[in-house]
Symmetry: C2
Subunit: 408 residues, 2 copies
Amino acid sequence: MALIVQKYGGTSVGDVERIENVAEKVISARDAGHDIVVVVSAMSGETNRLITLANQISERPDPREMDVLVSTGEQVTIALLSMALNKRGYPARSYTGGQVHIRTDNAHNKARIMDIDETKVRKDLDAGRVVVVAGFQGVDEQGNITTLGRGGSDTTAVALAAALKADECQIYTDVDGVYTTDPRVVPTARRLERITFEEMLEMASLGSKVLQIRSVEFAGKYNVPLRVLSSFEDGPGTLISYEEQTMEQPVISGIAFNRDEAKLTIQGVPDQPGVAYNILGPVSAANIEVDMIIQNVGADGTTDFTFTVHRNDFQKAITILEQISKDLGAREVNGDESIVKISLVGVGMRSHAGVASTMFEALSKEGINIRMISTSEIKISVVVDEKYLELGVRALHGAFNLEQASGK
Amino acid sequence: MALIVQKYGGTSVGDVERIENVAEKVISARDAGHDIVVVVSAMSGETNRLITLANQISERPDPREMDVLVSTGEQVTIALLSMALNKRGYPARSYTGGQVHIRTDNAHNKARIMDIDETKVRKDLDAGRVVVVAGFQGVDEQGNITTLGRGGSDTTAVALAAALKADECQIYTDVDGVYTTDPRVVPTARRLERITFEEMLEMASLGSKVLQIRSVEFAGKYNVPLRVLSSFEDGPGTLISYEEQTMEQPVISGIAFNRDEAKLTIQGVPDQPGVAYNILGPVSAANIEVDMIIQNVGADGTTDFTFTVHRNDFQKAITILEQISKDLGAREVNGDESIVKISLVGVGMRSHAGVASTMFEALSKEGINIRMISTSEIKISVVVDEKYLELGVRALHGAFNLEQASGK
């Protein structure tokens, strides 16, 4: 008998029929002898409906009141799911974030969980009840309702699992697991049985939308095994956990890509200490997040500095960079919005050499020019022209044999 | 500077535009120098939408979860109204029933308020804020969300006014006050400037739907002056308070009527001690509420027993009565569903004789046959044929000169 926290997102509870379907899934786990805590999001569309109401009143509604408003979305779902369970003879109790003391800081609309008092939940579990908790919300020290921001329901589930020392935190979504890459790009992409927290973090930060980064970080920090499964079909999903010594690691777990990047270059900057700060300081002061950074020093004592930003920030960044260029006496500024980033992710890279050269070879065979390269311990990213995205991902998927199940 | 609790019902906050209108009304009172606590209901239609969702899952949804569900309705309104006030530069804070500790018993769906901790509200008022509280809801001792049942928002407002020792509790509705009788029946019906708690209670229990009976009882018990006003037009409304010695009382304040009654008679019951109990015991055991009761003893040692019930309970009551008739050896049972009750209400009756005879005379002049009569200290009710309702009410309205303002 295990203690399992299950989380169902907005699509999984999108209408009454789907909520009944979730009730059946909960009951299957209950009948298998497990203690179950369920975390649910608002029914899909509900949060947007509420935001629309608020925006009819004000373009910038009071953040405290915004949280009071949107937190009703999950409250509706917990009540309906508990009704569905009770109707089927499975005693269930719903709780808002405030009722189970999900204590957060007071950053309305994007609060962070500080602490959970799990005694109430534990008591209900001991009494044989299913506990249904509203995701995405909590209360600050003064008892004000807060929300964790979009996607926060995953974080609620993981935080509850950590507080309860649950055996597993299961995130039900509309996909049946984490794939080697996006199956829409590579039809032979394969569901992974397992993946490590580190790999999942890289995948998530590189644009794979299966899980929220914060919830993966949280799960890793408290060592809560996470499982991604489908709400709509049965299957084991993908387990995200720490690397086990006995686990035979494949070199590469997956290929992530990101279409939202844009590249900026400032050329011929007089090379002197502090040049990176002089360039990136004003960019970050404008709240623009910088992803990859490359600096090359030329023979003429000047340097070329290239970095990528989110495509939405491109115009703003170019304007800032042109001012900087003048201030620093650089030669010129140019940018490119039609680029993408492709990344190989795998903890196996740590112990395997030659990953980079296999990657570069595969891309070169297809005539794909690499514009930027950046590496970390378990990831190699390249920037290429947008038009090469599908070709590049497929070439790499084949080169590393990802369509074949390996030790994972 | 006074402390005023204002309550706006579902129609008054039916859409965003109306919520903005309520914000303007609150601001007028604030600008006049008053401290304001606002109690709001769910936007009209919202509670029904939520109940429909629940009924899609279960015909008899779990009562605890029903309260979790429907209490979101008011939570949406408090957030939107607070946003509208904040946008206009009037600091406001919303609170759910739980957040301001509106403690109730644990009778889900029809809970009663036990206690309110007003310290949080007081602190906000002292800080110059408008406090916006969700009506109709509270929490029990264990922190479970409860609701007071339909119309409970009036009770919330009165209870808050009592706890805060407010100078006045203003109930905003879609009518501009309490009338001498229903203006749809008597076009010359007149808005009353004042009415006493006792009169209002009689009017409400007789079918005048302006205020919920429980809120009037509550206001009377804690001596909270109540005022009924219109959300949609300006005007002083009707003040409901205790009778003042200096107030010159008219004999009659108003005429209430009730179309929902049905009459049952059991004839020729052998007259013996306990006959009333033998008849009404089984009726009340079947959860049927009995209104008027009349018993006549005939010369032949048998008695006729007549009473009225809600028209919805008529068939059930007839069936029970036929069984009783057999058991007691009565002669026959008959009933009439096409009757109505008309009542004169007025504290002035206490000191004025002759009200009943004026009433009977007015009805008789119109050829209206009285089927039953029942009196209390401040009320005379008669049962007449349904078809005479309008004629009877108009005749009485004229006979007591209600279209002319008197001392009130």
